[in-house]
């Protein structure tokens, strides 16, 4: 019977199936960071357990780490203690990690692919909901809670029930000024933030095939914002070219053996999915969110929807509440709305291609004096690459702040944050109330759209600048 890639990867990782219990599933790669692992390591100590497979585990510091100069001490004592505890936990249990001073430090979902650790057909987990990023390689990658972080540390396994399969078919060619981010924001705006609950997405179609690995990562990254457990793209030559030669990618004969396995992963012709949606890439415009969840997104030229047009009372209330929090009128586009802060970064959009795209807009222009702009590379290696290309100079010359790698203002727990009432255009993944700082208001968009707002000072259709 024809099978989807989702079923193939799942079946390859079944350790045990017993009546009355979920499947025991093997995990190939476990990524850990300082925020969701401390209580899991404490649990291991309390039970007298070891990490079963430190060789399949890697740690990094990203969430609470400051993005100012790393030679300076960490000012936030509690964050500093969390980072020290994380380093101690990794040392005590033999888990390799990239500390604050490592040249490989970065956001957990940036470093896995960058190092070649993330590979097709793997199961990848992390105590972070954006783990689906790794699905871009044809891996089944999903976020877990701290109890499950402890389960994987102790056993390299998880008890899991099979998800439904959901095909997201994107055909056609993106127009200039429209980015991968706009595809995923469009999907979420159409099916809603619960539309993928209980499902794993497979992103397919000609538009997905023509995307680079970094663009595919942007799309898979936000699968969770539509409620999906995971989202993946079948591997192809683009995947193999990206992986080849990376530090942890297979070499020599191992590479050939791996390729043979990987080429068998794509969904078989005739494989069926539980659900399906079609998106016409050529009809997409740059997207922007106006509300307080990632499903509240519109094409940048479209008006903000009117709560009184909604039939369901809870939906009407939710939209009204969102617009009150955002202090926005309905019925007209966001174009021209003043912006206080622009954030370019996060596991969604902090890879080198994102920085190159933003730099194209900044080149020869100045940041609007009313706007504070932070550009935060996803990893120290992305930072190094950007500097080698002179992108840092472009950002700095324009008046943007060029920072050290980390999650930064995406989650705003490291001091990088909005002040109450401020508006940001952000390349991150969540616009929840207070997500970027208590009282802060977030418009999610692509790096192009964010850079356009940085130079004009208002929400701008980037197509007018290119």
């Amino acid at each position: 019977m024809p099978r989807t890639i989702i079923e193939k990867v799942w079946n390859n990782h079944i350790v045990a199936e017993r009546p009355g219990a979920p499947t025991l599933l093997y995990i190939d790669l476990h990524l850990v960071h300082e925020v969701t692992s401390p209580q899991a390591f404490s649990g291991l100590r309390e039970r007298g357990l070891q990490v079963r497979r430190p060789d399949l585990t890697i740690g990094t510091t990203d969430h609470s780490i400051p993005t100012y100069d790393r030679s300076l001490p960490i000012l936030d004592e509690i964050a500093g203690q969390q980072i020290s505890q994380f380093e101690k936990n990794c040392r005590d249990f033999g888990v390799p990690f990239y500390g604050p001073h490592s040249e490989k430090q970065g956001i957990v979902h940036i470093i896995g692919p960058e190092q070649g650790l993330t590979q097709p057909g793997m199961t990848v987990v992390c105590g972070d909901s954006h783990t689906a990023t790794h699905g871009a390689f044809g891996a089944l990658a999903f976020g877990i809670g701290t109890s499950q972080v402890e389960h994987v540390l102790a056993s390299q396994c998880l008890l899991q029930t099979r998800s439904k399969t959901y095909e997201v078919r994107v055909e056609g060619t993106l127009r200039p000024g429209v980015a991968a981010k706009d595809i995923i924001l469009n999907l979420i705006s159409r099916i809603g933030i619960g539309g993928g609950t209980g499902c794993v997405f497979e992103y397919a179609g000609s538009a997905i095939r023509s995307l680079s690995m970094e663009e595919r990562m942007t799309i898979c990254n936000m699968s969770i914002e539509a409620g999906a457990r995971a989202g993946l793209v079948a591997p192809d030559d683009t995947t193999y070219q990206y992986l080849s030669g990376r530090p942890y990618a297979p070499q020599g004969a191992g590479w050939e053996r791996a390729l043979a396995l990987w080429r068998g992963l794509p969904s078989d012709p005739g494989a069926t999915f539980d659900k399906r949606i079609d998106i016409d890439a050529s009809s997409l415009e740059p997207m922007i969110t106006f509300g307080t969840n990632p499903g509240m997104g519109i094409p940048i030229t479209a008006p903000v929807p009117d709560p009184s047009s909604m039939n369901d009372p809870l939906e009407r209330d939710s939209l009204g509440k969102a617009l009150r929090y955002m202090d926005l009128p309905s019925g007209r586009p966001l174009l021209g709305h003043p912006v206080n802060v622009v954030f370019i970064g996060s596991c969604t959009n902090s890879r080198i291609s994102d920085l190159r795209a933003a730099a194209e807009i900044f080149k020869g222009r100045k940041v609007n004096p009313k706007v504070r702009v932070m550009v935060v590379p996803g990893s120290q290696l992305v930072k190094k690459q950007a500097q080698a290309e002179g992108l840092d100079r472009i950002f700095k010359d324009a008046g943007a702040d060029w920072r050290e790698a980390g999650c930064s203002m995406c989650i705003a727990m490291n001091g990088d944050q909005l002040s109450p009432g401020e508006y940001s255009v952000s390349t991150s993944n969540r616009n929840f109330e207070g997500r970027q700082g208590k009282g802060g208001r977030t418009f999610l968009a692509s790096p192009l759209t964010a850079a356009a707002a940085a130079v004009t000072g208002v929400v701008t259709d980037v197509r007018t600048l290119i």
């Binding site: 350790v15 045990a16 009355g20 219990a21 979920p22 025991l24 093997y26 190939d28 790669l29 925020v35 969701t36 401390p38 209580q39 404490s42 039970r47 430190p54 060789d55 399949l56 609470s64 936030d76 509690i78 969390q82 390799p96 070649g116 650790l117 972070d128 909901s129 877990i144 809670g145 109890s147 499950q148 402890e150 389960h151 102790a154 056993s155 396994c157 008890l159 029930t161 933030i193 619960g194 609950t197 209980g198 969770i224 409620g227 457990r229 942890y248 969840n293 809870l314 209330d317 939710s318 989650i411 705003a412 727990m413 969540r430 929840f432 109330e433 207070g434 997500r435 208590k438 009282g439």
Partner: protein, 202 residues
């Protein structure tokens, strides 16, 4: 894990859809390395004003909110971040169950592993319960996990689904990790035939 016993309780109502885990516990409280104190930070930015003083009008600051062991919320509760601090905070505040029409996957899994019961009921029953709570704030519900039933204030009952394994663990107070570790032989057998993919130590 604590056993989940049947309970009868008043209900605290937060009638919003899509309550995300950033609202349940804001990220700035995740710098802790323990689980202690999270109950005080539950719904922090809704519960306290800019100076950190409790907003008296917010339900969880009122005696009737504090008396409730059951939270009634809108659709897609617990969406967003995977932080298990969300169920830890709800439990520490005093909630034992959350009623909604649906739950985000990761939140549901995290809640079940901590004996916080996610009760998903059909929207008709959900609307009726919202109505009942609005009419009589002292109205109570009875939660019985063994029979998977929620008794509404009018005496009628509605069944709710739960994964049978999670139900068994919650009723008996069984921790999943112990069960997983008992399958060491199966794990070792799987590992012996598994092609080596990466070695993070190498």
């Amino acid at each position: 894990m604590e056993k989940f016993e049947p309970l009868t309780s008043r209900i605290a109502v937060l009638a919003s859809d899509n309550i995300d885990t950033d609202q349940i516990i804001p990220a700035r409280f995740l710098k802790t390395t323990s689980k202690a104190g999270l109950g005080d930070q539950l719904f922090f930015d809704w519960r306290y004003d800019a100076d950190g003083n409790p907003r008296p009008e917010f339900l969880l600051n009122k005696p009737e909110g504090r008396a409730a062991q059951v939270l009634l919320a809108g659709d897609n509760f617990g969406c967003g971040s995977s932080r298990e601090h969300a169920p830890w905070a709800l439990l520490q505040y005093g909630f034992r169950a959350v009623i909604s029409t649906s739950f985000a996957d990761i939140f549901r899994g995290n809640a079940l592993k901590n004996s916080l019961l996610p009760i998903a009921i059909p929207s008709v029953a959900h609307k009726a319960l919202l109505q009942a709570a609005a009419t009589d704030p002292a109205a109570t519900v009875t939660v019985d996990l063994a029979t998977q039933t929620l008794q509404l204030p009018d005496g009628s009952s509605v069944e709710f689904p739960i994964d049978p394994f999670a139900k068994h663990c919650m009723l008996e107070g069984i921790d999943e990790l112990g069960y997983i570790l008992q399958q060491d032989a199966a794990i070792a057998a799987y590992e012996s035939q598994r092609p080596l993919t990466v070695n993070t130590l190498g």
